[in-house]
């Protein structure tokens, strides 16, 4: 099922979001794997709590980026859904 503005994304149960002081960037850790996140990716994933919808996440980020980022959030999270690192209801 493709991700939409109404989807509610959550990190895979096995994944953990963390900040790496060595690289000075956020990272997504999971069994035998690491994703090094850029600022935008990290900001999106921090808001994926299994309660907020994509529209709500985008709403929060719109204020930061002063534009509508809904399409970008959908594109970014779709890539992680494809890799099974994010689950969306």
């Amino acid at each position: 099922m493709p991700l939409t503005a109404a989807s509610v994304p959550a990190l895979w149960r096995l994944a953990r979001l963390d900040f790496d002081p060595v690289r000075q960037q956020r990272v997504l850790l999971y069994p035998e794997g690491v994703v090094l996140l850029n600022n935008t990716g990290g900001a999106i994933l921090e808001l994926c709590d299994g309660h907020r919808s994509v529209a709500e996440i985008a709403g929060i980020l719109n204020d930061t980026y002063h534009c509508d980022v809904t399409a970008d959030v959908i594109e970014y999270l779709s890539g992680l859904v494809e890799r099974d690192l994010v689950r969306a209801e």
Binding site: L14, D20, E32, D84
Partner: protein
């Protein structure tokens, strides 16, 4: 100098193990208990690894649970922010130890399964470990760990890959890794008995592909291809000395767990040197970084950015020269070594079992 931070440390905390699997990735000459690093030394190694950028830790062996300090090591790793996997046979994973590991913040446990057929599983392990593994799986599941099952595939179990996947699902695994045998160390000794036929490999690949799709969202199914049956080599952990380090029980530090077999290199130990020096400056880690060391056809091949010339350990084991192309590659005349090995692998399952003091013990 490396151009990246390492992401993963495999800590082989011991070579001791109750099982005797003939495909073990440990070297033929293993470390004894008296040679193992102390608890404090391991903790220092983990701290130095985190400072170098390591994010993933494998607590492995041998059987790591033969050490009574695994809980303490796991707690230290968690405090550093590492994502830690306990790589275990399941033997020794009692409810009490598992609960302590959970308390210590351990996140992921990987249990090995030899086969869905118990008689074959016992023959591979050289002991009866199945009841203990099943009990361990139930404990891991009930305590809420991230839970993986790992299965090494070879001629005697590859035809049951479908049953093995079902077994992992019924045990509640989050992931199953189906890894075709890689021929180093013990497995190379036993290659004639372990190597599947091409038709077995093709059938298993089709089963795995179907299972990957069918279990998606419930259980992650990973299938590691058998490189002898591929046209191009595997990319050696993303390149020698780029992302991965292994510390052996005695403290010697390698770019890959198969590297001890490369007798032309000397591997420095964390007993003598800081981990940072070993990663950044030691001759063994520098040896195959970049591409200046490469020979033809690798040097002018566009695939050198994809597979980095393949596996140095395999090149050394099969050709005697670590800088040679990995003989798996069909672009090198060395490929005939692999083709001959595949053709000749018809021996009976007459295993040389993994033992701490290598002898010619046979089943």
């Amino acid at each position: 100098m490396p151009n990246s931070h390492p992401t993963t440390l495999l800590a082989e905390v011991t070579h001791r193990c109750p099982l005797h699997c003939p495909y073990c990735s440990n070297p033929l000459e293993m470390n004894r208990a008296s040679e193992e690093l102390t608890t404090e030394a391991w903790k220092r190694v983990f701290t130095e690894a985190r400072e170098l950028g390591v994010l993933q830790l494998g607590l492995s062996g041998g059987e790591p649970l033969v050490r009574p300090d695994v809980e303490e090591l796991a707690a230290h790793a968690r405090a550093l922010g590492l994502y830690t996997t306990l790589v275990t046979s399941g033997v020794g994973l009692t409810e009490r130890r598992a609960a302590r590991l959970r308390e210590a913040g351990l996140e992921h446990i990987q249990i090995s399964i030899q086969d869905s057929d118990q008689a074959v599983a016992d023959r591979i392990a050289g002991m009866s470990a199945v009841p203990q593994k099943l009990a361990a799986a139930a404990i891991v599941r009930s305590l809420g760990f991230a839970f993986s099952i790992n299965v090494v595939l070879h001629r005697a179990n590859i035809d049951r890959v479908s049953e093995i996947i079902e077994m992992a699902a019924s045990l509640g695994a989050d992931r199953i890794e189906l890894a075709n045998t890689q021929y180093y160390g013990w497995a190379l000794e036993n290659r004639q008995s372990l190597m599947p036929t091409r038709s077995q490999v093709e059938a298993a690949g089709a089963v795995a592909d179907e299972a990957i799709a069918r279990y998606r969202g419930r259980m992650q199914v990973l299938y590691v291809l058998p490189d002898y049956h591929e046209a191009y080599p595997k990319p050696c952990y993303g390149g020698w000395g780029r992302h991965y380090l292994v510390v052996m029980p005695d403290g010697r530090t390698l770019p890959c767990h198969g590297a001890t077999h490369i007798t032309t290199l000397r591997f420095d130990s964390v007993r003598d040197r800081p981990l940072r020096w070993i990663w950044e400056e030691s001759p063994a880690f520098e040896a195959f970084r970049g591409d200046a060391w490469m020979r033809e056809p690798c040097q002018t091949c566009p695939r050198k950015e994809v597979d980095f010339g393949g596996c140095r350990c395999q090149a050394f084991a099969l050709t005697g020269e670590a800088a040679n192309p990995d003989p798996v590659c069909t672009l090198t005349p060395l490929r005939r070594i692999i083709d001959t090995a595949v053709q000749e692998a018809t021996g009976p399952p007459d295993y040389r079992y993994r033992v701490l003091t290598p002898t010619s013990e046979r089943a």
